[in-house]
Symmetry: C2
Subunit: 394 residues, 2 copies
């Protein structure tokens, strides 16, 4: 489809080619300052007008304050899966003689998948040791390179004692990698005072970064030069814009970047993080305690008689911002509740989960939710055939 250029070329001939150009109209769809001749589309394309305009700088220090990290210890990048892979990979690489990744059997499944995939890729005798929650300390032997856990259990909202388990891992010569996806934004997290080595977490749950928001990772300052990011991308390079062929890791937290940061997603997440900083994480944690406490009180008073059982810890200090209720008809109850505009979710085999995000959940919402659960169960409405059918899995 190439058309020959005219024999005589001057500016008028170029203007003539523009007039005949079938693609000419597309130019108007981009954000263009008409004075600038932008010839760098091979490096970074122009922004289409229709692209969401909000694009902000990565302000990593803000994210750090939400989890008690120091400046320069947190990076917003990639997904929780990829970040966890990088952190676990880095520890295994630094400790080739220790070949066990210790975790709990009930850890968040993605975390188990990532650990499993990493050991398969390494194919050097590494293995995942997954034990019950109460056997973790005894399993911390001299083969363990890393203990990796999710801070708040996604099924029951039970909180691990982050400081105590971190100390136990360190006593055994192992590193820790915490997944904060179900705690950050819901309950207070302080990685510094807990002596945490490495952590990661998700931006779209309690942090409200929007669907598919990027994840973040934390690397303690004391390990930043010792460990290397196994996914060596250009932005983790000491000098990313010189484009030399040999990789030299950047100093500090930047070496934990791989590819380009998801700027638009970060901008969206930033909106949410700013609200948390304004709200104060202690107040957020306090309200989460009250909301969940209220729901448990209402469950005890009104729901246990209908076969519900509180599956979350009763001690607020050991509970995230979620309450799970077991019920033999849990799946049907959750589906019926959706028709009554109460959105919880269900996890096998019998868990109804209700999350109480402190920034937008009111106390009357807790009351009304309990009321509607009672109404569904007393009317027997959840027994309708349409609710039993597992057409969708939440």
């Amino acid at each position: 489809m190439t058309t020959a250029l005219p024999d005589v070329i001057d500016r008028a001939a170029c203007a003539g080619m523009d007039a005949a150009d079938p693609l000419a109209a597309f130019r108007d769809r981009f954000v263009i300052d008409d004075d600038v001749i932008y010839l760098d589309g091979n490096s970074l394309g122009r922004l289409p007008r229709a692209t969401p305009p909000r694009i902000a700088e990565l302000v990593a220090q803000e994210w750090g304050r939400v989890i008690g990290a120091a400046p320069g210890e947190v990076l917003v990048t990639d997904t929780t899966s990829v970040d966890l892979f990088k952190l676990l990979g880095a520890v295994l690489q630094a400790e080739p003689r220790r070949r066990v990744l210790l975790t709990e059997q009930q850890n968040f499944p993605t975390d188990l998948y990532v650990a499993d995939g990493l050991t398969r890729l390494l194919a050097s005798g590494h293995k995942v040791r997954a034990v019950p929650r109460d056997a973790l300390r005894d399993a911390l032997d001299a083969d363990v390179a890393v203990l990796t856990l999710t801070h708040v259990d996604f099924r029951t909202a039970e909180v691990h004692d982050m400081a105590a388990l971190t100390a136990a891992a360190h006593d055994a010569g192992a590193r820790v990698v915490w997944d904060l996806s179900h705690s950050c934004g819901a309950i207070p997290v302080d990685v510094s005072s807990a002596g945490v080595d490495l952590a990661t977490g998700c931006g779209y749950k309690y942090l409200n970064g929007g669907p598919g928001a990027p994840a973040y990772l934390f690397v303690s300052r004391r390990l930043q030069e010792q460990l290397g990011n196994p996914i060596q991308g250009w932005l983790g390079h000491e000098s990313p814009f010189t484009f030399v062929s040999a990789y030299r890791p950047a100093a500090g937290i930047r070496r934990w970047m791989s590819g380009s940061p998801p700027v638009i997603g970060i901008a969206a997440l930033e909106v949410a993080i700013e609200m948390f900083l304004e709200a104060d994480m202690r107040r957020v944690g306090a309200k989460a305690s009250q909301l969940t406490e209220l729901f448990i009180r209402l469950a005890d008073a009104r729901l246990t008689r209908h076969g519900f059982e509180v599956a979350s810890p009763r001690d607020a200090a050991r509970r995230g911002a979620q309450v799970s209720l077991r019920h033999p008809d849990g799946y049907a109850v959750i589906r019926a509740l959706i028709d009554h505009k109460v959105i919880g979710d269900f996890r096998t085999p019998d868990l109804c989960r209700f999350g109480f995000a402190p920034l937008y959940t009111r106390f009357v919402d807790v009351w009304d939710a309990a009321e509607r659960i009672v109404s569904v169960i007393e009317s027997g409405e959840h027994r309708r055939a349409e609710y039993a059918e597992r057409a969708f899995i939440t």
Copy 2:
């Protein structure tokens, strides 16, 4: 900071707690349908009102059409670095006896970094064999697991013969992984007719997906069940919402997902992809040829006498949508041009790069750019001290 709940709890007491809640006002900052009691913030947080509202479905088939893939062979996910890591890792894992990653010395540096990081992580005798461009075929021996190359050279815009090199790799029993970052959106790409195994590319260059747009990956249908994604995240699981502890890879392209997709970034990239489909990739490629041809003609006529040398191929079929000019004062020239509103960029040691993205570059822009280069060089303006100083690297 936990405050005790009142002794008597009824809806009025809950409303009282709401009235006293210091966080109550934050509720208004979220998109809330007032009838719904949303208690699923532990799974997916509510969307803040200030978050860009445009969120779209992942329409993988559209991206596929841009690179000549069949439906179900392309996925928009992660970054180019992470996608390349996954694809190379998968091949090495499937072929444990072949331990060489073959590439060219002048490959895009990120690609070299990723390959290097992967071999270090594996620590099983794998190595990167980087040879000059013209030695690639001879280096394809029985140790090579994978040949990985960037389709269009980022320095000179020289295009590799994708079909011929893919066939040569296959003859040697190796797989190929192509990086399309500098070709897709600029010149026609047809992975199917070239018999390509695996490919990845960037969304924010010629594709105009906006800063930090997600990358995409291509896995030929014939390899989708044979290879496994080494970064095993929840969305690559056969049944991601059942949350079972054992990883079972999904069938088809979905197993190449790891964490959650960057939905907002995908929505932005989709805007751009839709334009390309509307514009027709053949017309896009034809215009790229004409624009670069015009610039080379102008360079020959007006710039070579000032010490510029065309570093890009003169054969349009072997050239991407970029023209690079060598000049001993290249860095200073590029800086001076920015003050004249011509945005190119510089790559060491002496390359001035000018990209001609077909959807928004006019022929008169090419003319005016050449004119301003002549004007800068004839006036000697680029010799000003401020332009020599390497304060920033583009």
